[in-house]
């Protein structure tokens, strides 16, 4: 049985992906921040198939100490019951913030959750991913196009704008995936980014102000149901001949921003390692 870890698996795209993968026979380990939503999600999955293998872990992934804590729990679980193997990690948890807000470390929240959380969690789970020659899948978005990383002010302390912060964090997802492939493809690990398209979820209505709320309420009506993008994750988990591409929409490769270069990926790696106080080159040495 293959094991998959999905962050933000308590609602929206993450939940539908968890449902689908559970149906396909995966051992699903979901991460969410709300106990109530996690319990509901688990019940839903079990109600469809009482034999489904599903477990939820609670963590506010925006906070690095929480990522560290939950990854220890998951590693222990994997070692105990899964032979230390992880076949796929889906870094999907994400948020939108109307205003500049910070985590306990003082990092801007969209950057912290949409990018850094996945960067740190992947690092923590890398030994298990290596062992299973696993895949790392990020939830990206086409909104990553038409923007550059604000290298001199990634936290956007000068002129914060919700859309800029969101777009930049989604560009970071692609840069991170590219950086992972450059470093670990030789170990059998592959990283991908899924473009879910416009999806009818509540992401823009959680912890946002009046304007963002209003815009998203109107916009999400045009979105597809979250079980549509879920198929692309399942495809990337299942497909036997490892695809070479990086960015996928409806199970097909798609072109991405010219900003996704080795130079930018390396730069993001270096910055993120510093912000998380880790070194990918030294995985497994601690």
């Amino acid at each position: 049985m293959k094991t998959v870890v999905i962050t933000g698996a308590s609602s929206g795209i993450g939940l539908e992906t968890a449902r689908l993968l559970a149906r396909l026979g995966y051992n699903v380990l979901g991460i969410g921040r709300s106990e109530a939503n996690c319990n509901k999600a688990k019940e839903l999955i079990l109600s469809e198939n009482t034999n489904a293998k599903v477990e939820y872990f609670l963590a506010d992934l925006m906070q690095q100490r929480e990522v560290n804590r939950v990854s220890e729990k998951i590693n222990a679980y994997l070692n105990e019951r899964c032979n230390g193997e992880l076949h796929a990690l889906i870094n999907n948890a994400g948020c939108v913030r109307s205003w500049y807000m910070t985590t306990y470390e003082g990092y801007e929240q969209q950057f912290a959750l949409n990018h850094l959380a996945g960067f740190l969690l992947t690092y923590k789970l890398l030994p298990a991913l290596k062992k299973a020659q696993g895949r790392v899948i990020m939830t990206g978005s086409d909104s990553h196009k038409g923007i550059k990383v604000h290298w001199n002010d990634v936290m956007l302390r000068h002129r914060y704008n919700p859309l800029t912060a969101y777009k930049q964090s989604k560009l970071c997802n692609l840069l991170f995936a590219k950086g992972l492939n450059d470093r670990f493809a030789s170990d059998g690990i592959r990283a991908y980014v899924v473009d879910p398209g416009l999806v009818n979820t509540d992401i823009g209505n959680k912890d946002t102000g009046f304007l963002v709320n209003l815009i998203w309420k109107i916009r999400k009506k045009h979105g597809v149901s979250p079980d549509v993008p879920a198929k692309t994750y399942a495809y990337l988990c299942e497909v036997k001949d490892v695809p070479d591409g990086l960015y996928f929409y409806l199970c097909k490769e798609k072109n991405y921003s010219k900003e996704v270069t080795k130079e930018n990926a390396d730069r993001l790696f270096e910055l993120s390692e510093r912000l998380c106080d880790i070194q990918y080159g030294k995985v497994g040495m601690t």
């Binding site: 906070q63 690095q64 100490r65 109307s98 205003w99 500049y100 807000m101 910070t102 985590t103 306990y104 470390e105 003082g106 990092y107 936290m155 956007l156 302390r157 000068h158 002129r159 914060y160 912890d207 946002t208 102000g209 009046f210 304007l211 709320n213 510093r274 912000l275 106080d277």
Partner: protein
């Protein structure tokens, strides 16, 4: 430049700390939340090459403050700037709260702020300019039913700061009072803003801009900073409209908002 920030682990304190660190200032951060200070220190040191010292302290407790001052003196730390950020509020009717909770607002917002201000002015770097910021609030401009204690405690800071500024003017000290409207510093703040609908967005000041302007203005000798045009208009109205009328309007408005807030 050495800067002391109180209430550093909260939303506004973290933003202030980031702003100061990005300018290359060394920081002495204090807060009652020790874990928060540890995380913030890590975050700042990973981003900026500045020295960050932290010490958890309950500013309402004399012993706790004395202990912190001992550490400061032992290391011979002297300051160029003090940012008084620590403060608290419990919203709602005066009689709806426990007695000691209400008293605590004044103990922290006023008594503790005086304590730390006195102590840190004494520990200013000799022969150098010194800058103090008090974080008051737009609420200091009006009597505010349902935020009565808080608003009055912030008025105390505003008036106190103006007087202190005059006393210390010849000693190369500037005192600035910051009177922001709503700022999104806590997850809870978002719900409050949401409950006000359009007006919530309109009166909300962007945190990152407020902290940058606050430091700029404090360093250039300004007295008062009310961020945002709308808030400046409101504070002006607060001066010309009779305070009993203001109290009435505010009471009905907040009643409605808290009603909406609990309904949603």
């Amino acid at each position: 430049m050495n800067v002391m920030i109180t209430g550093a682990a909260g939303g506004l304190g973290r933003a202030m700390a980031n702003e100061c660190a990005s300018r290359g200032y060394n920081l002495f951060l204090t807060d009652i939340n020790e874990d928060g200070l540890t995380c913030l220190k890590q975050g700042l040191e990973r981003q900026f090459s500045v020295t960050v010292t932290t010490m958890a302290c309950d500013l309402t407790n004399t012993e706790s403050v004395d202990k912190m001052l001992d550490v400061i003196d032992k290391h011979g730390i002297r300051f160029d700037m003090l940012l008084n950020v620590a403060g608290m509020d419990y919203e709602g009717e005066f009689m709806g709260h426990e007695r000691e909770k209400l008293v605590k607002i004044v103990l922290l917002n006023n008594a503790a702020t005086l304590r730390i201000t006195h102590a840190i002015i004494k520990r200013r770097r000799p022969g150098k300019k010194f800058t103090i910021v008090f974080v008051s609030s737009l609420a200091s401009m009006f009597p505010m039913p349902l935020k009565a204690t808080y608003a009055a405690s912030k008025r105390f800071l505003l008036d106190f700061a103006t007087s202190l500024r005059q006393e210390l003017k010849r000693q190369d000290v500037n005192v600035l009072t910051l009177c922001p409207g709503g700022m999104v510093t806590t997850p809870g703040a978002i719900n409050g803003i949401k409950a006000q609908g359009f007006w919530g967005d309109a009166t909300t000041n962007p945190l990152e801009g407020v902290v940058r302007n606050t430091i700029d203005r404090a360093l250039s000798g300004k007295r008062l900073y009310v961020p945002g045009m709308l808030n400046r208009i409101l504070s002006f109205l607060g001066k010309i409209i009779p305070s009993t009328w203001v109290a009435k309007v505010i009471y009905w408005r907040w009643k409605e908002v808290s009603h909406n807030g609990s309904a949603s």
